[in-house]
């Protein structure tokens, strides 16, 4: 293991964010832009969880591997994981609202390309 685990996770998360940014900038189809937003969300969630990692720590669940006594000594930070659970649900909600807007736009203007949308008025 060359790199520390948290740096590998951070690199993965930021790579996903960059891929999402590229998708948002390059594509003209609304649905692909929305996928780009979803990728940025996922990448940032991975980054947030990665900042909670303690070297040599294990999951914050008390079972056979981790007793109550060394729970505070050997486990990773549970707070970023709890925050990311909320963030995932909110990311899903934002994606759902974006997709419904895309559907309503398509029904009104019969096109999914954002180039057309700047010229037409409803």
């Amino acid at each position: 293991m060359g790199l520390p685990i948290s740096q590998i996770l951070l690199a993965t998360g930021f790579a996903l964010v960059l891929t999402g940014f590229w998708g948002i900038l390059k594509h003209r189809n609304i649905l692909r832009i929305i996928i780009g937003f979803s990728l940025v969300d996922t990448g940032l969630h991975i980054v947030m969880v990665a900042t909670g990692y303690i070297t040599g720590g294990t999951a914050p669940i008390v079972d056979e591997a981790l007793s109550i006594a060394d729970g505070a000594a050997r486990s990773v930070d549970p707070i970023p994981s709890a925050l990311v659970v909320t963030a995932i649900v909110i990311g899903f909600s934002v994606t759902a609202v974006m997709l419904s807007f895309a559907i309503v736009l398509f029904q009104a203007t019969k096109t999914l390309s954002i180039d057309r949308l700047t010229e037409q008025k409803w």
């Binding site: 951070l10 930021f14 505070a72 549970p78 909320t86 609202v97």
Partner: protein, 232 residues
Amino acid sequence: MSRVFNLLVLVAFGFVFAGLIGAYDERQILSALAIRYLTEVPEGLGAPNVVTGILISFRGFDTLGEVAVLFMVAASVGTLLGGKEKNAAVSAAPANVGRRPPSELVRNGAEVVLPLIFLFGAYVIMNGHLSAGGGFQGGAVVASGVMLYMLAYPRGGINHDVLSITESLAGVVYVTIGILGIVFAGGFLDSAILPRGEFGTFISAGAIPIISALLGIKVGAELSVIIDRFRS
């Protein structure tokens, strides 16, 4: 020209992120708040899963806000997409004739896998306080099972009224349990209104399993309604 611009933006962000990654030192010790949560949740609340304990009792108010956000999203999607139901029913009838039915693989696979998915979702919901899982996670699994049902049986109807009533009832009971926490125990959404029980058994950790189950029901019903609105 715009491709060069895109590439420049990406390279700039890449430099910023690379700087962040390079300067990041892996943490060696826990913060004081994390240590308090890690000792309080197994001993004070009696729940082995620290993350679920944080989400449901110590940060329970954030969870209530998240429940409100989910409700708002269900309402928004219903407003944006639901009003066209009557027009869509008339205009979609000729379009459906040319559509291919789902393949045998999807149909037969769904018949085998759907009960297992729902069972797994219920397991993840109910076991949230003992091992990895919880209300939101299990609710998302149940909603993905509903999505498979919609893919395999495109004509199959989902009863919106039943799901909406279920989800609203779950939300109301959740807030009621929170208010019971004020009356009987330390504060809003305190899980000590029920006895702590033996550590690690199914019925333990106070009101956390009940709150977890309510969250799972609410999230599952809500996501199913949202997904169903997207069906043309």
